[in-house]
Symmetry: C2
Subunit: 224 residues, 2 copies
C-alpha cells in the first residue's frame, strides 16, 4: 500500500477505536519512566493480542525493533498525531438538563485537549443561566460556532425525544462530529461522524446479568 492510498483510505475504524487504549497504556509507561516496550507487554496492558497490536501499529507505519520493541515516547507521539490529539478540539454541548450540566461542569475533557467552549439550550428560560464558567446560549447561535472551524465537536445531551432535531440542527450548522449522549438512534448524512455514549443501555445490560444471577431463568419466565 502506498502512503497516498493509505491516506485516502485512512486507518481502519477498528484500529482507530483501539488507538486510545494504546495511548493510555503508553501514558502509564511514560509516567513510570519506561523508555521502550515490547509488543507483548504493550498488548497485555491494552487488553489485546500482540499480533493485533502489531497489525494496528503497522497502519501508522510503526513496526518496532526486534528484541528491543517500540520507543515509548515516539510511539506515543505517532498515535497522538494519528488521532489528531496534537491540537485542541473545541466542544459545544447542546441541552442543559441534568446530564448536560454534569458534562459541562465535568473537568475531565480539557486536560485531553477537548475544551467546552459553548453550552446551548432551546428553552428560553434556561438561556442566559450560568453553567460553570459559561453562559447558556440559544440554539440560534449554532451556525456562528462553526465559522472558521472554531467549534468542531457537538455533544448532544438533550432528551431522546429531541435528539434527532438537535442532530439535524448541528448538521445544518456545519458540525461533522457528534457525540450523542441521548438514548436512541439518530440519522445523519454519511459525512457526519456520530459516536454514542449510552449510560442507560449499559446499566440495563448489567441489570439483565444481575437478575440472572439473583433469579435464574426470570428473563425467560414469560416465555414458558
Amino acid at each position: 500500500m502506498t502512503a497516498t492510498s493509505a491516506a485516502k483510505r485512512g486507518i481502519p475504524d477498528a484500529t482507530v477505536a483501539r488507538l486510545p487504549g494504546y495511548l493510555r497504556a503508553l501514558d502509564g509507561l511514560v509516567a513510570q519512566g519506561v523508555g521502550s516496550v515490547s509488543s507483548e507487554e504493550l498488548a497485555t496492558s491494552s487488553g489485546v493480542s500482540s499480533a493485533k497490536l502489531r497489525k494496528d501499529l503497522s497502519h501508522l507505519g510503526s513496526y518496532g525493533v526486534r528484541g528491543v520493541g517500540y520507543d515509548v515516547g515516539h510511539l506515543r507521539y505517532q498515535i497522538s498525531r494519528a488521532l489528531g490529539l496534537t491540537q485542541d478540539w473545541p466542544v459545544a454541548i447542546i441541552g442543559m438538563g441534568n446530564l448536560g450540566r454534569a458534562l459541562a461542569s465535568y473537568g475531565g475533557f480539557a486536560p485531553q485537549g477537548f475544551t467546552v467552549v459553548a453550552v446551548l439550550d432551546r428553552d428560553p428560560a434556561v438561556v442566559g443561566q450560568r453553567v460553570g464558567d459559561l453562559v447558556v446560549q440559544p440554539m440560534e447561535v449554532l451556525p456562528s460556532l462553526t465559522e472558521g472551524g472554531q467549534v468542531a465537536i457537538g455533544v448532544i445531551a438533550a432528551p431522546a425525544a429531541s435528539s434527532q432535531d438537535v442532530a439535524d440542527q448541528l448538521v445544518a450548522a456545519g458540525f461533522s462530529s457528534i457525540l450523542n449522549f441521548a438514548p436512541g438512534v439518530i440519522s445523519v448524512p454519511d459525512h457526519v461522524q456520530v459516536r454514542k455514549v449510552d449510560l442507560a443501555t449499559e446499566l440495563q445490560i448489567l441489570a439483565y446479568h444481575e437478575q440472572r444471577r439473583t433469579s435464574p431463568g426470570a428473563d425467560l419466565e414469560v416465555a414458558r
Copy 2:
C-alpha cells in the same frame, strides 16, 4: 430449544445489548398511544433489520402475529422483565472527583430504576462531604453495602490509575456488576460483569475523523 436449556444459557449477549433499544422504541410508541407495531416499523425505529429484530424477540418467546405485528404493551413488559427492569437496582458510585460528583448529581438514573444509594471515596478529606442528598462514605463500608443484596451495581468513577484497585475492592466486597467510567482495562473474575463507558475514547475517535476531514493524510504523515 427447551425453556430449561434456554434459561441456563440465557439470551445471547448481542441480543441483550439490543433489547434496551427496542424498549426505548416501544416507550415512544406507548407515548403516542400506538397499540400494535409491525416488526418492520419497530426495526426501523430501533436501527436494525427486521430479520434481526424477529430473531432477537424469538429468544424472549415473542413472535408477533402475521398481519398484526406485536402488541406494544405486552412486548414492552416482556423486554422489561427480561432485562430485570421490573425491579429497582441500587447503585454505589466509587470516586468523588469531577465525574463521580457529576454522575451522583445526574438525575437520569433514578427514573429508569437505578437509584444511587451510596457514594464513596478513599480520600479521608472527601469522606463526610455532601454530594447531592448523600454523604461520602469511606471505602471500608463497601462490604456492608452488599449485605442482603442491598446494592447491586458498583460504578467506578475513580482515576484510571486506581481503577483496578477499586475493581478489586468491589469484587472482594461481593459486587458482581460493575459500570466502569475509568479509562483503561480492568481485570475481574469470570462471574463479574463489567460494562464500560469511555468518554475519552469516543472523543478521541471523533478527533481522528475531524482531523482527517480538516487535514487529510495528517494521521499518516509521520509514517511517510
